[in-house]
C-alpha cells in the first residue's frame, strides 16, 4: 500500500525541504514539522511548529493518523554545542519512536543517519560495511550520539514488526552550507601534515533521491549511501582552486580545532577532524543489491558539481506566488509573538 499520510521532521533544513518538494505530488497528505520557520513555501504541505525534543511529537503522529514518518531532524554537521546535538539526535529519536510505537498506524519509518557513525581511525579497514559500526572504537561526540540513536532504532525495529524501519547512513555531503564544503573551498586550506585522506562524498540530489525511494519502496534495514569511488583531499582542494597548506600538527587534534575556530572562524567538529586525517569510505554494495539503484554522482562528480556551482553566477530564481503568502504568514507570526511579549 503506498503511503497516504507522511510526516517529515526537520523539514526546514535544505534536505528536508527538497524531500518535501519531491514527495508532495506523490501523496494525498503531507505534514512537515520543525522548530524553525520553513525555508521555502509549499502549498501541498501542512507545516507544524513542533520540537522533536518534546513529547508532543508522539501525540502529533497519532492525532494526524500518520502512516509514514521521515525523520530528518538529526543533527550531524552543526555548529551547535554537543549537548544540544545529543538532545536532538537521541532524545528526539526517542520521542519519534514513542509516536511510532504500538497503538499508532505508522507502517514505515525512514531515519537519516550519517557516515560519521563509523568515526575514522588509522586501524580501521579501508571500507566500512554496515555491521562495522560499534562501540569498541574511540567514538567522538557525534559518533557516540549516532550510535546511541541507531541502537534505539534497531531495538524498536526488533520490537515492532508491523513497522518497516529504514536507516540511511548518508555519506558526507558537499552542498553549499555543510562545514566540509566551507572548509574545502577556503582559498588556503590548512590540512593535517603528512595525511592525504580518501574522501567519499554524496551529492545532495542523490541524498534526496534515496530518501524518496525509501519512503515509496519497501526495503528495510541499514544502508550505506555514498557516491562511487573516492577523491583525495588534495584533489578536492585542487578542484576548488585553493591551495593545500599542510600546517596542522597531526597529533593533538583538539588544539588544531581550537586554533582554526579562533583564528579562521572555521568550525571543525571532532568527527570531521578524524575524517580529514584518516578518511573514511563506505561499502555501498548492500544499497545497490536491495534498491537496484546507485547514486548518479560519483564522489568526483559531486566535487566537480560543487566547483561548478561556485563558478556560476548566483542568479536569484523568480519567487513563486506562494512565496508571498509565506512572507505574509511569517510577518503575522512575528507580530503576534511581539504582541504576546
Amino acid at each position: 500500500m503506498p503511503p497516504q499520510r507522511i510526516l517529515i521532521t526537520g523539514v526546514s533544513n535544505p534536505l528536508g525541504a527538497a524531500v518535501a518538494r519531491r514527495l508532495a505530488p506523490q501523496v494525498p497528505f503531507l505534514f512537515g514539522c520543525d522548530v524553525s520557520d520553513p525555508i521555502s513555501a509549499l502549498e501541498e504541505m501542512d507545516f507544524v511548529h513542533a520540537d522533536t525534543r518534546l513529547s508532543v511529537i508522539g501525540k502529533l503522529v497519532r492525532q494526524l493518523h500518520i502512516d509514514t514518518v521521515v525523520h530528518l531532524a538529526v543533527m550531524v554537521d552543526s555548529p551547535r554545542d554537543e549537548r544540544s546535538i545529543h538532545e536532538t539526535d537521541v532524545i528526539g529519536m526517542m520521542n519519534v519512536l514513542v509516536g511510532c510505537a504500538a497503538p499508532s498506524q505508522v507502517r514505515k519509518l525512514v531515519v537519516k543517519s550519517s557516515q560519521a557513525i563509523y568515526g575514522a581511525g588509522p586501524s580501521d579497514p579501508s571500507f566500512y560495511s554496515e555491521e562495522l559500526a560499534n562501540w569498541d572504537r574511540y567514538a567522538s561526540g557525534v559518533t557516540r550520539d549516532l550510535l546511541e540513536m541507531e541502537q534505539l532504532v534497531s531495538e524498536f525495529a526488533l520490537r515492532t514488526e508491523a513497522c518497516g524501519v529504514t536507516v540511511l547512513r548518508l555519506g558526507y555531503r558537499v552542498s553549499d552550507d555543510t562545514s566540509l564544503a566551507k572548509y574545502i573551498s577556503l582559498p588556503i586550506v590548512p590540512t593535517f601534515a603528512g595525511f592525504d585522506p580518501r574522501l567519499q562524498l554524496l551529492h545532495e540530489d542523490d541524498a534526496v533521491e534515496v530518501i524518496v525511494r525509501s519512503v515509496v519502496g519497501d526495503q528495510a534495514g541499514v544502508f550505506n549511501v555514498a557516491g562511487d569511488g573516492v577523491v583525495l583531499l588534495s584533489q578536492a582542494i585542487g578542484i576548488m582552486g585553493g591551495r593545500n597548506a599542510p600546517i596542522l600538527p597531526p597529533y593533538g587534534k583538539w588544539l588544531s580545532r581550537m586554533g582554526l575556530k579562533m583564528l579562521g572562524g572555521i568550525d571543525m567538529p571532532a568527527h570531521l577532524a578524524d575524517f580529514l586525517a584518516y578518511g573514511s569510505v563506505m561499502d555501498c554494495s548492500r544499497l545497490v543489491a536491495q534498491y537496484g539503484w546507485k547514486p548518479a554522482f560519483s564522489s568526483r562528480q559531486a566535487m566537480d558539481a560543487l566547483a561548478r556551482g561556485r563558478q556560476m553566477e548566483q542568479i536569484e530564481p523568480p519567487s513563486p506566488p506562494q512565496e508571498y503568502e509565506l512572507q505574509v504568514y511569517l510577518q503575522q507570526r512575528r507580530r503576534r509573538a511581539r504582541l504576546l511579549n
Partner: protein, 344 residues
C-alpha cells in the same frame, strides 16, 4: 597616416597582443631566460663529455650514462606528474599507479645496484588473476616489501603491481601512511585482503607482522609464529593460490642490538630499535647496510580443490599455514648456503 607603422605600436593597439603576451612584472633578460631553459641540456652534455673522457682515460666505465639518464627521467616524470593538477584518479584504496611507477625507477636502482638482488622463480607469479604472496618479514623498516614489489614489477614478463598489507600502527603515522596508501598498500585487516583478492590483485602479506621486523640480530633467519593462519583462511575463501617467498639479506640491513620498549610505547610504535648506527649517527643511521639479497618465489600452493567451508576447519588451516612456513624456512636455508658472504 592611417596604419601604425612600427611593431611596438601595432603590438600596443592590437587586441590579440594582449592575449598572447599579458602584461608582466619583473622578467629576467632574454639571454638569461634562454640559458635557464637550456641549462639541464648543457649539464647533460657536459656529463656525457666527462663520461667519454673518463672512459678513454681509465679504460672502464666510471660514469654510467644509463644511470644518469634514469635520474633525469625520474625528475622529468615528477614534473609531468605535478602538471596533472587534480586531474587524475586513484582507485578506492587510494592507489595512484602512475605516481608509483615513477618511484619504481628509483627502487629499481636500489634493487639492482645497492642490494644486488638475485630473484628466482618469479614465473610462479601468475600473469593475470589473483594470488596471495606470503613472505618472511625482517629488517626494522619494511624494505623487503618494497624489494618484492620491485622484483615482480621489474623481472616479471608482464609487470604487475603488488599490493602489500601494512600493520595498522603504520597507517596512523603522518607521511608514512600517505606514501603507503598512495603506492597501493592497504590495512592488514581480513576485510581488505578479501576485497583486494576479489579484484584479482596480487596481495603480499607478512604473517609474522611486527614480530618479524622487530626481532634481534641474534635471532636472524628464524621465522616467528605465522599469526593464527588467517591468511590461509582468506585464500581458501577467495580461491587464491598461495605463493610462498623466501627473502635473504633483509635481516642484515639494520642489525638490531636492543629494543627500547618504553620509548616505543611513548611514540606508539611497535618497537624502538638500537643498531650500531642508530640513533648514534642520527639520520645517517637510517641508511640501510648494503647486504647481498636473494629472493626466491616458490611454487604456488593451490587451494582451488577446497570448498569455501574448509576455511572454518581450524585444523586444516593451521596445517596449511605450517606447511607454507616450512617451505619459506627451507628456502631461506637454501639461499643462505648459496650466498658467499653477507655483503658479497
Amino acid at each position: 597616416m592611417i596604419a601604425e607603422t612600427t611593431r611596438q605600436e601595432r603590438r600596443r593597439t592590437s587586441k590579440k597582443a594582449e592575449i598572447v603576451s599579458p602584461p608582466q612584472g619583473f622578467r629576467l633578460p632574454k639571454p638569461l631566460r634562454r640559458l635557464r631553459r637550456r641549462a639541464p641540456m648543457y649539464a647533460l652534455q657536459a656529463i656525457s663529455e666527462l663520461s667519454t673522457r673518463m672512459r678513454d682515460l681509465t679504460g672502464r666505465e666510471v660514469i654510467d650514462m644509463n644511470r644518469i639518464m634514469e635520474v633525469v627521467q625520474f625528475m622529468y616524470q615528477q614534473r609531468e606528474l605535478a602538471r596533472r593538477g587534480p586531474n587524475y584518479s586513484v582507485d578506492d584504496f587510494g592507489f595512484d599507479p602512475e605516481w608509483t611507477e615513477s618511484f619504481l625507477t628509483i627502487f629499481k636502482a636500489v634493487y639492482r645496484d645497492y642490494w644486488r638482488v638475485e630473484t628466482k622463480g618469479v614465473e610462479h607469479v601468475p600473469a593475470s588473476g589473483r594470488a596471495l604472496l606470503v613472505a618472511n618479514h625482517a629488517g626494522v623498516l619494511p624494505w623487503d616489501g618494497t624489494m618484492i614489489k620491485t622484483a615482480v614489477f621489474a623481472e616479471h614478463p608482464r609487470p604487475r603491481h603488488v599490493r602489500a598489507l601494512v600493520a595498522s600502527q603504520f597507517m596512523g603515522m603522518p607521511a608514512l601512511s600517505w606514501f603507503l596508501r598512495r603506492t597501493g598498500q592497504a590495512v592488514g585487516h581480513p576485510d581488505d585482503t578479501r576485497r583486494l583478492l576479489e579484484r584479482d590483485e596480487l596481495v603480499l602479506v607478512f604473517p609474522e607482522g611486527t614480530r618479524g621486523t622487530g626481532k634481534r640480530f641474534k635471532d636472524r633467519y628464524r621465522l616467528r609464529r605465522f599469526g593464527r593462519g588467517g591468511f590461509v583462511a582468506t585464500a581458501i575463501r577467495t580461491q587464491a593460490p598461495i605463493i610462498p617467498i623466501s627473502v635473504v639479506g633483509s635481516e642484515e640491513i639494520y642489525p638490531m642490538i636492543a629494543d627500547l620498549r618504553p620509548v616505543a610505547r611513548m611514540f606508539g610504535m611497535p618497537y624502538f630499535p638500537i643498531t650500531p648506527f642508530w640513533p648514534l649517527l642520527g639520520p645517517l643511521g637510517m641508511i640501510p647496510l648494503p647486504s647481498k639479497w636473494r629472493i626466491q618465489f616458490h611454487a604456488p600452493v593451490e587451494v582451488a580443490h577446497l570448498a569455501p567451508q574448509a576455511a572454518e576447519d581450524q585444523h586444516l588451516v593451521m596445517a596449511m599455514a605450517d606447511s607454507v612456513r616450512d617451505v619459506i624456512q627451507r628456502g631461506i636455508y637454501d639461499n643462505l648456503k648459496l650466498r658467499r658472504g653477507v655483503f658479497l
